[in-house]
């Protein structure tokens, strides 16, 4: 079961959010239940990113004091009583985050696939998408409002994650 999926860019902005559990209040969403890029999840997104960001800086600090042998000590998942958060950070500073139940241990390949086959194809290689979702410096420190609203991206993400939802 997947509860939600998030993408954050290197300016700490949430640039995409998909939530499958919340009731769908105002829109007629062709994709079934849940919300996409909804305002009501703004706060959750900020908290989620804040937690991952600070945990990650802790692990970075720990690893730098451990040894010269620099293996990447980014966090991969966080478990709580009810769910598990899987994360992947790209070298370009993007965070791909998946919130799931305990059924499956490892979602890193799923995240990698979303990045390489969906995000790169429909956002990076699409010249009609911005290369940077923060349009000006005011939007750079987590204040950005621009989201990925591109139907090819949404449709293929939906098609890819659909079998894992239940």
């Amino acid at each position: 079961m997947i509860y939600s999926f998030w993408i954050f860019d290197r300016h700490c902005n949430c640039i995409f959010e998909r939530e499958w559990t919340l009731a769908n209040s105002n829109n007629t969403n062709a994709m079934g239940n849940g919300t996409i890029n909804s305002k009501q999840n703004d706060e959750v997104g900020k908290l989620l990113y804040g937690m991952i960001f600070s945990l990650n800086s802790v692990t970075q600090k720990l690893s730098s004091s451990l040894s010269e042998n620099q293996i990447n000590n980014n966090i991969r998942s966080i478990s709580t009583g009810k769910f598990r958060i899987h994360t992947m950070q790209t070298a370009t500073g993007l965070w791909f985050i998946l919130v799931t139940d305990f059924k499956q241990q490892n979602y890193s390949q799923v995240l990698q696939y979303i990045y390489s086959h969906i995000y790169v194809k429909y956002v990076v290689h699409n010249l009609l998408s911005p290369y940077d979702f923060a349009l000006n410096p005011k939007e750079q420190r987590g204040q950005g409002i621009k989201r990925i609203n591109n139907r090819h991206f949404i449709n293929s993400l939906e098609a890819f994650l659909q079998p894992m939802l239940t």
Binding site: T28, M31, L127, L128, S129, P130, N150, H152
Partner: protein, 270 residues
């Protein structure tokens, strides 16, 4: 172009030449298709930017009517801190221009087309004509030239052939490419979730955004015809969107492209 007899493929001499040609093709440096496509696509926002700058330079004082919107976008304050002209913004601006300032819009399209023409003449000379034993331009009529564009030129530049060629045998041709390579991953970014919006509105906006990108292949077709002796003013070439056949509709761009080519004085060549 070396002289060549028809149907001489069995001939050992011709076979040798064919082999040489293949070796030559292999020896050419290889370029990453993605990078090449991105560069080709950047021509459009670049042309738009150049045209935009040209419009503003000669004016000492900004006149109100034309540049008020530009002033807003290019005000000094903002220019120093951010980049107001990233490619995607330029493309969206360009499609607005179609309604607001037809002159500048058409100049931009012409600029793109001219680049296509230069690319067309040079690339075909460099990559396609050189050492290609399968081509004999002496006996080529217009139909063969069109076939040459569909097969060899398109393959060299876009990595695939034209899907369909139609003609009325009187100098009018339709070259149909159902998945024109450079725009396959293009998709409009909207302000809210696309499923909340009217699909037709989105599609028509998207087509409008993509339209300038079609001037590049138009220019390339004209450039190839120019290098084969059809002057630019005798060739009409227009690109339009057409529906894809059902089996081709998948994730790519929703429309195919039809290039309408017309030679106004077809008999002068013979």
């Amino acid at each position: 172009m070396p002289h060549q007899r028809n149907s001489s493929i069995q001939n050992p001499e011709a076979l040798e030449r064919q082999r040489q040609y293949e070796l030559f093709q292999e020896s050419l440096p290889k370029v990453n298709a993605l990078v090449y496509q991105m560069l080709l696509n950047e021509i459009i926002p670049l042309s738009s930017h150049v045209e935009n700058q040209l419009q503003t330079i000669p004016m000492e004082e900004f006149s109100e009517d034309q540049t008020e919107s530009q002033l807003k976008d290019l005000s000094l304050e903002e220019k120093q801190v951010s980049n107001p002209s990233s490619s995607d913004q330029l493309i969206y601006k360009l499609s607005q221009l179609a309604d607001e300032d037809e002159n500048e819009f058409n100049n931009t399209l012409k600029r793109v087309r001219d680049i296509g023409i230069k690319l067309g003449t040079r690339l075909t000379n460099l990559l396609v004509f050189t050492n290609n034993v399968n081509l004999n331009f002496k006996e080529m009529d217009l139909l063969l030239i069109m076939k040459f564009i569909c097969r060899d030129v398109w393959k060299q530049i876009f990595g695939k052939q034209i899907d369909n060629l139609k003609t009325n045998h009187r100098g009018t041709f339709y070259l149909i490419d159902y998945d024109y390579a450079l725009i396959q991953d293009f998709c409009i970014e909207t302000n809210t979730i696309p499923s909340q919006l009217n699909e037709e509105v989105i599609t028509s906006k998207e087509l409008k955004l993509v339209e300038p990108f079609l001037e590049l292949p138009v220019g390339i077709i004209k450039g190839v015809l120019l290098s084969l002796g059809y002057p630019l003013e005798e060739v009409i070439c227009l690109a339009t969107f057409i529906d894809k056949p059902r089996e081709k509709i998948r994730n790519g761009f929703p429309k195919g492209i039809s290039f309408h080519v017309q030679i106004t004085k077809p008999n002068q060549q013979q």
